[in-house]
Amino acid sequence: MTETYIGAPIRRREDVRFLTGRAKFVDDVKVPQMLHAAILRSSHAHARIKSIKTTNALAIPGVVDVITFEDIAHLAKPIPIRAYALPGLERYLQYPLAREKVRYVGEPIAVAVAETRYVAEDALDAIDVTYEVLPAVVSVHEALRDEVLVHEENGTNLAARYSISIGDIEMAFRQADYTRREEFKVHRHTGNPLETRGLLASYDSGRGELTVWGPTKVPHINRAFLSSFLSLPEQKIHFIEPDVGGGFGVRGEFYPEDFLIPFAAIKLGLPVKWIEDRREHLMAANHSRDVWCEAEIAARRDGTLLGLRAKLYGDMGGYIRTHGGIVPASAAGLLPGPYRIPAFECAVHCIMTNKTGLGTLRAPGRYESCFIRERLLDMVAADLNIDPAELRLKNLIQPTEMPYVLGVTRRGESPTVFDSGDYPMALKRALEKIGYGELRQRQGRYEEGKYHGIGIGCYVKNTGRGPFECARVEVRSGNSIAVYIGLASLGQGHETTMAQICADTLGVPIEQITVFHGNTDFLPFGGGTNASRGTVMGGNAVYLAAQEVKCKVLTIAGSYLGMAPSDLELRDGQVHGKGAETEKPLLSLEDVVPLAAPTSRVNPLEPGLDATAYFKSDNLTYTYGTHVAHVAVDPETGKVEVLRYVAVEDVGRCVNPLLLHGQIVGGVAQGIGATLLEDLVYSENGQLLTTTFMDYLLPTSTVVPPIEAIILEEAPSTLNPLGVKGGGEETSLATGATLANAVANALASFGVNVTELPLSHNRVREWIRRQQDKD
């Protein structure tokens, strides 16, 4: 295949509508007679609902209805788990509205529907809820004591527990010259896409068909859930994905509102729109990261790692959400990282508390485990007097060891096998880029009022999660080629990258291709966009479908021309004799279209120039890289300034370097913000204190340092025809680890040992002061 497009930094074809204000996000979609919903949410972390009085709300002019659990009881059931259904979690699921009890601040209690959102919010103020407030449990330590039970019918807050074990951990610790044990805490934070969640549901009662604008991320899966809730066949439910303002793992799972809004539309016989506001989003959309870990590492005196054991606790919140135990399970799953550690043992615990449910956020669990492991490695290096870069080079898995079988690190899944990679090279490139040789002399130095530190973080990330993805390519006319993908789009640029793959594979100019995504009507099955699977799964499905269509084109053209298809090729939308570079084309694609029509007499195949293909994979590809950061810490204020940030990553084969570079800069910036600024803070009685952007601080342009990104293609994947690995999540994964190591190095003279995130300035200042008080 001629490669004009794959690998090229093609500017995005979808941009114009976003730049000119003509994009259609869900709140931009308007249908006639639309009503507006607002959700009444619990203001208590843990309480029994004694009564809900709706008469005053219903009396407000313009209020159409107030829906409570009573109204949905005949259809209501717990929202199921779609992934990581660890045994035991199924006892802690959430109903779409609170029944008798609320378990976190923000839990939906009622839905008010009115002619405008303004009036719907007036209705919320007039709904009278009587609560019997219960004590709230807000920390994992407290929850483990099982004194206050979040779900008393289950008798415990320990929702699930399992262990993984590789090698002989006892022997590793017996043989070790050196061991180190620490406790780590990663803070609760979330992704905050700039667009909050929203849905518009419209029910055609004549036909019994429901249309919902807004679903994204995993639309086919969510449609199946909704079908089950409503007892409405899937083919009568149409999900339309509008433009989507980011997701980062948070948007697109099946939330209570994904049932409530369609339910309201059906009940009221009118379209109902619900757009979340930011305060709601911060308390109702999934939180993430909240992990506490006791970890212990064993090594030889020369720094050779022998073993790693850990106990991981995930603070799951009041209910288990659709991706089950993914956060702590994923933290355990790659805790050893890209290193050769012969023995590994990890116990994973899911603990319930009275907080918002825990779900995915860009590289769930792996931002956490990278921090834990990379901090431990720096501690080992310091204790054994080995340079942290040398220690890593000594223990990183070598390319000659690929594919590297780690073993089963996720309960119930096949063994973790790193497909390909040159991990030492990624580290060396990063060190070279930042000038580590010279720069390391500034470790811990006090210069012009600040302490300098350089930190390293190496990582590996599973990408390209299967088991399948679907794509359909259809040539409708010579200049109209459609690619339908089962992926969703939340800003990744699939309309460009998938067109690139189709253009090169089929042999047509990219201008003729349009990519359609997200709607459940396009394809019968779709896996959605998450877990950095788009390029691997969607890209290869497009490749397979385009191959099939090209084959059809050449077969039909061959039949017409009296030539063997193997003597023909399709280039730039023209059929040429193979090898006849300079001669005129024999046929254009435009000419072939009627030859493929149902009425054609020269078509030996089924009518049409289209093909639906599935790319199936039970393997994961492994993207990897190294981050290095240079920081300066002000000991008076505790402020951490990032002076330089280098991010090296290897995706095997890069479809669009402009877009991947964008993901790296964006992901690093997001990770820097998360590590230095963000924190979801609860009071002792379970009140979320950070419910606005004045309290929950997001990174702005003044916080982001120069970010130097290097994209490597040293190790294409052996697991798919395009040789690609996924990208997107891994870009922020190592930021916590890298910055924590930099800060620890900067403050080494104080004896500050960084074992917690975030590195906000009040906390850093506190750590310095505590050490100073000791002296």
Binding site: R12, L19, T20, G21, L194, G245
Partner: protein, 159 residues
Amino acid sequence: MSRKHNIIVTVNGKTYERSVEARMTLADFLRDELALTGTHVGCEHGVCGACTIMMNGEAIRSCLTLAVQTDGSRLMTVEGIARPEELHPLQTAFQERHALQCGFCTPGFLMTAYVFLKETPAPTEAQVREAISGNICRCTGYLPIIQAILEAAPIMRSA
């Protein structure tokens, strides 16, 4: 139903006469009353900047402004920056530099940049960084946005 107030406001060169409740925000007025959905609402409390538009030559937060406050004013939204069928140099530069991913923050950045470059036609990188520090982007990490604005500045000066 509470009392409504008549306002006359010019948006992107077109004059509108409408009757609105006192509590209706300007953002909602533009989006729902005038069907100009290019202006977005990200936080509704004036921090994220997604709702930024130009009012009488200044950049303002339309989520913190009431529609009634715009009576007699001239507004410009993202739909009005470019001539029809053309892209403004800022828009071209944003596409060139991949300064947008999900696109939700983009109208706010374009309006902030548009007003800023009128006031500071030849900015330094540091000035641009400061000027956009009141707009949040979750996707791009800001660096390509800064580059796009620096790239568009000389083109706008020569126009």
